[in-house]
Symmetry: C2
Subunit: 214 residues, 2 copies
DNA sequence: TGTACATCAGTGAACGCGCGTTCACTGATGTAC
DNA sequence: TGTACATCAGTGAACGCGCGTTCACTGATGTAC
């Protein structure tokens, strides 16, 4: 080769990204976007900045994603997977059919929102993503399915029972609202102290024990 | 002009919305931004486009607002005023202390979210606005105050009673979650049909009638 | 085993664009005298 | 009452910027023979 003697330089390139094709750029980009979304909010990310943080040229992301929205969808998809896993783990930590199992699903939800408020918000701000990404809709429905499952077990009814669906939705909206209020208003707007677990148990009891409505 | 009497107490300036050059550009800009936010989402507005829609040059907005964030804050402030007014009107349409009055506050909240989903989302996505705008915090607290008031009347307890605060927060998070889920997932994720008024009455009953917790 | 080749994840330069904001200005308005 | 003046909400041109995306390319990798 006309290049200089490679002998000395040949040794070991200590830089971790020695490889031209670096391992998993897609995953690294998603991680970078998550970071950006947490720092600057759901719309405060740019493809360019994400690429910069992944240590790659600004054109590189387009080898893995069609365009900017697709990157967002990738982040949301991955986040929903983690959210569902957390909810399932919460339920699994308590006896099947117990009120605690229901509350634990809610606790996982709230914990996720608190740990990743930016991503959490992003998941629910994909107004345009609905039509474009049926797989995201599916994943959302699966998350809801975890709630339905816990409620059904608790009430000893089949998951498709209307009353189960209704109460599961009530619980979900409750927990969803609590999560959002929590991350939106770090400054408390109420004088009452809220302990999550107590609160979620109380909610679960109020919703599941109240008289069935038509 | 002859409409003077500057030293007397009743020195009321007639001509409430004096048209200098353009009429009330400030209000028109806010209206334009509301429109943009509804169309393109909370972050999908630009100062330039708002000015365009108001029929003025792109520099004109800076005669009324310091910068872009201040415009957003103006929109949110105005929206919170309308939201509170709607909640108060809802409560006032039913007997003081009735469960219906409580549910009507929630209904007004949900109605607002459904009528202006973009603005509604914007109100709750001002992550940075908290420190910058104490007046927005105050307005938010006042909105919550409407809920507290209705709950206090219903339970016949003072508004600063911890149980009142706790139940008001529960109701709020419930309604907040329902509102968000409603505007986020137009496609229903549950098989159960939700009638708002029934639903809100049920919620109010479940929250206010359940046994008091420590 | 070595070699030729197709594949494909990267580069880096370039593009057009719309944005936020500033600037000196203009001309209508309200007021003091 | 008329006039001179200060005020201020507008203009329109200009700026620098970072963005999303495209493009021809490069060179490492895996595989068929």
């Amino acid at each position: 080769m006309p290049d200089e003697a490679p002998s000395t330089a040949h040794a070991h390139r200590v830089t971790p990204k020695v490889s031209y094709h670096h391992g998993d750029l897609r995953a690294q980009l998603i991680a970078a976007v998550r970071e950006l979304v947490e720092t600057y909010g759901p719309d405060g990310f740019s493809v360019a900045e994400a690429a910069r943080r992944a240590g790659v040229s600004s054109a590189a992301p387009y080898k893995h994603f069609k365009d900017r929205p697709e990157i967002l969808r990738g982040v949301v998809s991955e986040a929903m997977d983690r959210l569902r896993a957390a909810m399932e783990a919460g339920a699994a930590a308590h006896p099947v059919g117990s009120l605690e199992a229901v509350a634990a699903v809610g606790q996982a939800y709230v914990d996720f929102a608190r740990a990743e408020p930016g991503v959490f918000r992003l998941v629910f701000s994909l107004t345009e993503g609905h039509e474009n990404a049926p797989d995201l809709l599916t994943k959302g429905a699966r998350c809801f399915g975890v709630v339905v499952h816990a409620v059904a077990a608790c009430l000893d009814l089949p998951p498709d029972n209307p009353d189960v669906q209704r109460r599961a939705y009530m619980l979900w909206s409750f927990v969803h609202g609590h999560s959002f209020l929590h991350i939106d208003m770090k400054t408390k707007v109420t004088t009452a102290e809220i302990d999550d677990w107590d609160y979620l148990l109380g909610i679960s009891h109020a919703v599941l024990a109240s008289a069935a409505r038509s």
